[in-house]
């Protein structure tokens, strides 16, 4: 007989009862997106790792208050992102996005011509620079929603704002980006 993998609700229930393996499975499932979210918000890897680590510790302690049947991912992202924002705030700095396009061509991707690769890279750098120029709230919304591909609900949870605020920030940010990129060309 082959054991079927546990679904998230079962894992959460087990973790609530103190099953550490269940909790570790959940952490491993979400640590990637949690760390990347923390990195975008905190602005450096050390703070992001601490924020994610502390966030998961707090989440584990708060599992008893987690509403059964709710998706775990936005709840975890809210806690980790809050830790990351606190670090950025306490450091008193406005971090740049601290991102750059990967230098390597991804495995499996079609290999572009050198000219096409150069144009694509320039295009990416210009777009990233334009995002960088946005006000912090707008920039974070763009980063969470598009770079991390979080849903509007998850973006709201990560930024600690309402869904409507996320939507309005995204709309304004996209309009600003269109304007900036047109001016560039």
């Amino acid at each position: 007989m082959v054991d079927r993998p546990l679904d998230e609700a079962e894992l959460v229930e087990r973790a609530r009862r103190g099953d550490l393996e269940a909790w570790e499975t959940l952490v491993r499932t979400y640590q990637g997106i949690a760390f990347r979210t923390a990195y975008l918000l905190a602005g450096n890897a050390a703070d992001a790792e601490e924020a994610a680590q502390d966030g998961f510790v707090k989440a584990q302690r708060a599992l008893g208050r987690f509403r059964r049947g709710s998706p775990l991912r936005p709840w975890l992202l809210r806690i980790v992102a809050n830790e990351a924002r606190n670090r950025r705030r306490s450091a008193g700095r406005r971090e740049r996005l601290a991102l750059h396009a990967a230098a390597e061509i991804r495995p499996g991707g079609a290999v572009p011509s050198p000219e096409a690769a150069f144009v694509a890279r320039e295009d990416q750098e210009r777009l990233l620079a334009a995002v960088e120029q946005l006000p912090a709230g707008h920039r974070d919304a763009i980063a969470c929603r598009y770079f991390l591909e979080l849903s509007v609900e998850e973006t709201a949870a990560a930024l600690g704002v309402r869904r409507g605020t996320v939507k309005s920030r995204l709309a304004r940010a996209l309009a600003q980006l269109r304007e900036d990129l047109e001016e560039d060309t």
């Binding site: 103190g18 550490l20 952490v27 640590q31 703070d47 601490e50 998961f56 777009l127 770079f147």
Partner: protein, 229 residues
């Protein structure tokens, strides 16, 4: 989705993020008290057995001192370690209250005119920087249940003396640079080795292990410790 949104999404897939840390192993430390006594005992037994069983190892670990949550071992050769400034590598800056919330116990502090900031390392070890006769001194505290094992390695020119503070055991470590390594309660998710230039007083206060580190004399360290205990 507009073409701009598609471009942003495509850009996101091309961005370089730092490697993702494995956070799962660290989550165990928050969940249950770790049997540190057994770890320390096992470490001591293994090391002692090794020291006496293998001729080449006999010279590597010369003597053990142990108090709750901390082991000092005398070795012939110190492990490679990073230099650490007083404020460097202490963790993130938080308020004393926030540190206490994380640690689950009240920090032991001497009477102070103003509350100093605390530094929290991996959510298990808090440090505040005090001044003793004008010199910076680190006061670090952790619960042995949270930090698996703190190991100090000293060379043959370093003095290690047992002391007692308010009836509880402690150790005074004085002399040339020695190293400090700590392991998380899971025994695997953190291991850092730093070189300590000052003298160190280690002692226990109930479940809490306290350490003072700085360029201070034994008398100064004991005086400060008595104000804290």
């Amino acid at each position: 989705m507009s073409s701009l949104e598609q471009r942003l999404q495509a850009l996101g897939r091309e961005l370089a993020f730092p490697p993702e840390p494995d956070l799962a192993v660290g989550s165990r430390s928050a969940a249950r008290p770790f049997p540190w006594r057994w770890v320390a005992l096992a470490a001591a037994v293994v090391a002692l057995a090794t020291a006496f069983a293998v001729p080449s190892a006999r010279t590597s670990i010369l003597r053990f001192f142990h108090i709750q949550g901390a082991t000092v071992e005398r070795v012939e050769t110190l492990p490679p370690a990073q230099e650490r400034s007083s404020a460097g590598g202490l963790g993130r800056r938080v308020s004393v209250r926030e540190a206490e919330r994380f640690l689950g116990f009240r920090l032991l502090l001497p009477p102070l005119a103003a509350e100093p900031p605390a530094y929290l390392l991996d959510g298990v070890l808090a440090t505040v920087i005090l001044r003793v006769d004008g010199h910076p001194v680190l006061l670090s505290e952790y619960a042995a249940r949270d930090l698996g094992l703190l190991k100090k390695s000293v060379g043959d020119k370093t003095l290690v003396e047992p002391v007692r503070l308010a009836g509880e055991p402690g150790l005074w470590v004085q002399g040339p640079p020695h190293t400090l390594t700590y392991f998380s309660a899971s025994g695997e998710f953190r291991q850092r080795t730093v070189k300590i230039q000052g003298n160190v007083l280690l002692w226990t206060h109930g479940p809490v292990t306290v350490r003072i580190e700085g360029r201070i004399s034994k008398a100064q360290a004991l005086r400060l410790a008595r104000r804290i205990s």
